[in-house]
Assembly symmetry: C5
Homo-oligomer: 99 residues x 5
């Protein structure tokens, strides 16, 4: 799965009926080690009530349909977790701050 | 999912029977932040009555079969929404103009 | 889906039984706008009676199994159409010549 | 499948219910010949009780759901084996050391 | 599908039960035209009794599960044919030598 940060949203009034009510997020991939942005920036269906700024884990491909309430949707990426922390080589590279 | 602009169409008379009547669009990917074209330019099945110039969201891989009326089709990309607006970092990077 | 030109064939006598009688084509991807070859050159199962020199549309991934007669085959790419014409930005970038 | 080394873990309290109790590993891909790191570094679901430092084989895409106990999970990568040795061109390029 | 040459093997004693007895090959991709190695070098499940040095065709993604005896396995690449010859632009670019 990929790690990314939610940077925005996409709005559409002409879409596949199943997508009604589904939040579509603009997510940019983060390198799990350096936490710098990679070039990859996509639209990802929200299945975790994620909001702007959240660091999330998202799933790509047809497995995204197993995310909450997305079965049978024409989507290929879904946010499946909001991350609390990421640890690489025994160092904490990311920790969610309390709001 | 990917964001792209419809730039053309593909016509074929010798094809898989299920593709009869299906509109095949030439879609070029757009960077969701800068809205500049990326190198990726593919043929995408239309499931949203999209037309040339439309900014669309499209789905890749086997999930495309969940788009309207495309179940069991040998296609790997489908337009699933025509976009009204895209917002990144609290800035409107794209807004559909009224015709 | 991708656009490519059939450039050759692959022959194998030791293969998965389901592949018996299936034509395996060497297909090189074409940029849908410039019609120049890209680097991608793969082996693609034929489901459209395509021949050498034909400009074809092919489908990648598990959706290829929906092509004519390929259900349950261990293949990940299939030719699903022979193209007559491709139009980009109101210009005809490809048109099949009569034989 | 890919070869990689487990370099860390990811923790999340807000996630898809099916992911509860599932270990999420930070895995960086290794070139199977030189055993140098490639750029690819992802989050991979653990299905083999792998730990930090282990050299593992992981599976990508929807096939990951066939890994032990991951059926119907919204994941697209799973560790399916911990490697003992890798042999390329009759040379042992990797051998697990006894602990 | 991809063309590659078998360059080695991978051994694992801690793995998904379904992988017991399955040969895991190190395969490097070959350009179908020049037959030079590409950068891609992966672990591929054997479903064709392939051995070191063989030039093979392999299938990627979830379709690999349709290869002989691999149904429901957590694998994403499988050898499905050993090649006899490859012909590109009417030239024989590869022909298997008799042993």
């Amino acid at each position: 799965m990929l790690i990314g940060r939610v940077r925005g949203t996409v709005v559409s009034s002409t879409k596949h009926p199943s997508l009604n009510g589904l939040k579509l997020l603009v997510v940019q991939e983060l390198d799990p080690e350096t936490f710098e942005y990679s070039n990859e920036i996509n639209v990802v269906a929200d299945a975790s009530a994620a909001g702007e700024g959240d660091v999330v884990m998202y799933c790509r491909g047809s497995s995204a349909k197993y995310a909450d309430g997305l079965g049978g949707f024409p989507i290929d990426e879904a946010v499946v977790a909001i991350l609390d922390s990421v640890c690489v080589d025994d160092e904490m590279v990311y920790e969610k701050r309390d709001k």
